[in-house]
């Protein structure tokens, strides 16, 4: 995988408080798991940026290599990899995610 993609990802996640690599986008989610994650952050009133991995296969593979995480969606808060759909849902249910989102504002 090109180190260029890895660098692009590394820079991108630092530039945004909350960044998600998803299938589709806020208005047009293309996968149930991506939709669930975006809905959770919308419900928390969070301001977040998305990257549609379906529009860029290099980023789709690159982010999986970057995080050593084999699935999409992938969520970053304050440049830190938080996890995928399962973990975000569990953090949301426990109330932990709201604290993380508020701290990221």
């Amino acid at each position: 995988m090109s180190s260029e993609v890895q660098k692009t990802i590394a820079d991108d996640i630092k530039k945004h408080k909350i960044l998600m690599y998803v299938k589709g986008n806020k208005g047009n989610p293309m996968c149930g798991f991506s939709k669930m994650v975006m809905d959770i952050f919308l419900d928390l009133g969070a301001d977040f940026e998305t990257r549609d991995v379906l529009s860029d296969p290099e980023v789709r593979d690159g982010v999986k290599e970057f995080t050593q995480w084999p699935t999409i969606p992938q969520i970053f808060i304050n440049g830190e990899f938080i996890g995928g759909c399962d973990i975000v849902r569990d953090l949301y249910t426990s109330g932990e995610l709201k604290k993380m989102v508020d701290a990221a504002k």
Binding site: F33, P70, G83, D90, L91
Partner: protein
Amino acid sequence: MISAQKIQSLVETAFPGSQVEAEDTTGTNDHFQLTVVSSSFQGKGMVERHRMIYGVLGAAIGGAIHALSLKTLTPEEAGKLS
């Protein structure tokens, strides 16, 4: 194609002494719910725990396994839930 039983045995072998429950959630052998109770998760965060499971299932993730929902608990955490 992979079965819930195969996933269960792979994880049980990789985590001796663990309790593993694998369920095919759609009956199509590609959407699974997996619950693993193991002392190996002690002191580890969620991302790390899930990576441990992904490491066992390897290339099947995203291939034969389209969707995998994970619950990774230590025996103490599981005890609180039951």
